[in-house]
Symmetry: C2
């Protein structure tokens, strides 16, 4: 008993010692705050402490919510949203005009633009994007030296639960690309690619596969690209993928080198990269899956027109050509007309349309929808 | 040319399409803002846009700076700090009383308490904590099911550049523990353990080793601990480490199972765990390295007293017993008296004192100092 009391005193002294006074003040003020609080009825309470602010708002762009929060007598601002559909939502606070993340929530998406906080609303049943009680794969964060870009770049790799570096069976590989506002962490931090793959593999719906998530922004060594969507930037990424990343993966992982065991998929900017790189290298990828790809005026898009000019080769090589887009997405018409043109030329493809806009709500769903199509 | 123009139009339309109006406004206001800007003279400009705020401050706790920022006519607040010593510093903004991260800086430390932004001030020469042009190891993020805690927990693992899952030579392992305010990501996100190991290995100063970074907060299945520093919590972590983590690592990595190839190190709360677990299991760890450990009144600390009651066994087993602490740390006296008591009992140990307080500036330095001592 005495030891316990001494220990508690030691602990208290210690905790005080490790914090500067200003940190301590902020911590104490925040200590009682839970944010976000997801309640059993699937409403969510968002809270932030700010005694001095005059206006604090919540922004939930996935579902088009921007609303003022209310301040209580202790300086805590809050608002209740929902009930919400089970999903993972991005949000920010705006404190007197400044976008901030939720200071009490370590779950965030870090990209090229503003960092956002994330809140997961679980379903009554385990959802495809949630961590379930199944065997878990691992994700690996590499730094590789790209000869193409002349820089050291990040690379995320998911290995499935049964991955074995020594097995005789080589694993198939999906190259999975992000959008213009994200980086190589996007498909993990907000896309939940690892959880989605874990759950599908455990259910016997998807093959054990490796998923490689490169950084999609690129420029050739010695140059810089101010426009990540330019042809030059796509060309640089193409070379980085083919000459740097794929050899690096094949050196470091126990993977198949056959086109029939390689897929390429990506969202938005990465959807365009998927089309441009996949169609130019039918000898390397037998699965092409653009999600909400950055294509608009297909008939005037000379790059794409050239790539779809040989229907026989495409049909001969591709096992799956899957094009998905949300009906509320500004790119819906472009993707639909791409699919129609392909069909018109006799190129086999699947057009998959869903409700939804240009958001991660759609892309997580598409990954869940398409992983079961691969390597069968 | 025409195609390029069409392409640019496509791109512009696309970029507009992907953003909601509020995101677009925030992005446009922030677009011209660079923060933090590290200048060649090693001063750093911090900036944040906030038209409506009445007071914005910068907090740089590592060097005890809290200062108001100044607003210009476009609503951008800024302040210049330095010149600073080359290092990595944590910082936050306080916007009208609310702690926020820098919205333009994706480099952050996410822990248990407030999330902080990070700024790296590089040296004229490559620094030990910087990414250098050397071969890079990889870090791996696992989710494992802990029988001890009854939950699924995160686990970070660093493998060195020459790691080979198939080699006959088994790799030695350092178990590296975090402090009370951090999680399993701490030693990577702010500690730069991977860069420090990469640089030392490339210089031939440290052995190729695996570094395992578990989550240090624990409680036994079915219980919850409100105090992560309590004996119960330490016991739960001890069992998680010995019964769950070490077997998991030995199953998934090509590692040695000999005590002479195992080290345990940690900071603050993790420093105390290092002492308590390391000394209780001399048959498992031949290297014990607490950094700024949470020890105060050593002579009244019955847990530690019991563990150091058999000097002969300790001397026989341990190859390195290294105790480090900064002289401005509230825990300095406790650590110094621990070393003196050990010495008084004839237990070989090194006491390493440096300038510095209870901050990551000290712990990165200690990792750099101690990795070369291991597995020689």
């Amino acid at each position: 008993m005495k030891n316990k009391r001494i220990f508690s005193t030691v602990v208290l002294f210690f905790i005080i010692a490790i914090m500067t006074i200003s940190q301590l003040k902020a911590q104490m003020r925040n200590q009682a705050i839970v944010s976000p609080e997801v309640r059993p009825d699937m409403t969510v309470v968002f809270r932030i402490s700010s005694r001095e602010a005059t206006k604090v708002s919540l922004v939930l762009p996935d579902i088009n919510i921007t609303r003022p929060m209310e301040k209580n007598e202790t300086g805590v601002w809050s608002t209740i949203v929902g009930p919400l559909e089970p999903n993972i939502y991005v949000y920010n606070f705006i404190v007197d005009g400044t976008h901030t993340v939720d200071p009490m929530n370590p779950v965030m998406k870090r990209g090229i633009g503003l960092t956002t906080s994330l809140v997961e609303v679980p379903g009554k049943e385990p959802m495809y994007f949630s961590e379930q009680a199944v065997p878990h794969g691992t994700f690996h964060i590499h730094r590789y030296d790209s000869k193409t870009t002349g820089t050291t770049r990040g690379l995320y790799v998911y290995t499935p639960p049964n991955y074995d570096p020594k097995s005789k069976n080589k694993f198939p590989v999906l190259y999975l690309l992000h959008g213009v506002g994200d980086t190589e962490n996007g498909w993990i931090e907000i896309g939940q690619a690892n959880r989605i793959a874990d759950n599908l593999i455990a259910a016997g719906k998807a093959k054990q596969m490796i998923i490689v998530m490169p950084r999609g922004h690129a420029s050739f060594a010695g140059t810089s690209s101010s426009n990540p969507m330019s042809a030059g930037s796509t060309n640089a990424f193409e070379q980085d993928l083919l000459s740097d990343i794929i050899p690096y993966i094949e050196k470091n992982y126990n993977v198949s080198k056959n086109a029939k065991d390689r897929a390429i998929a990506g969202l938005s900017m990465g959807g365009r990269q998927t089309l441009v790189i996949g169609l130019a290298h039918l000898d390397k990828f037998n699965y092409i899956l653009p999600y909400s790809a950055a294509v608009r005026n297909v008939s005037q898009d000379s790059v794409l027109q050239k790539l779809i000019s040989d229907p026989a080769s495409i049909n001969k090589s591709l096992k799956v050509f899957w094009i998905g887009c949300g009906t509320e997405d500004g790119l819906f018409a472009g993707n639909k007309s791409l699919s129609e043109q392909l069909t018109g030329k006799g190129i086999r493809n699947t057009f998959f349309q869903t409700p939804g806009a240009h958001t991660w709500l759609v892309w997580r769903l598409y990954l869940n929808e398409t992983l079961p199509l691969l390597f069968k």
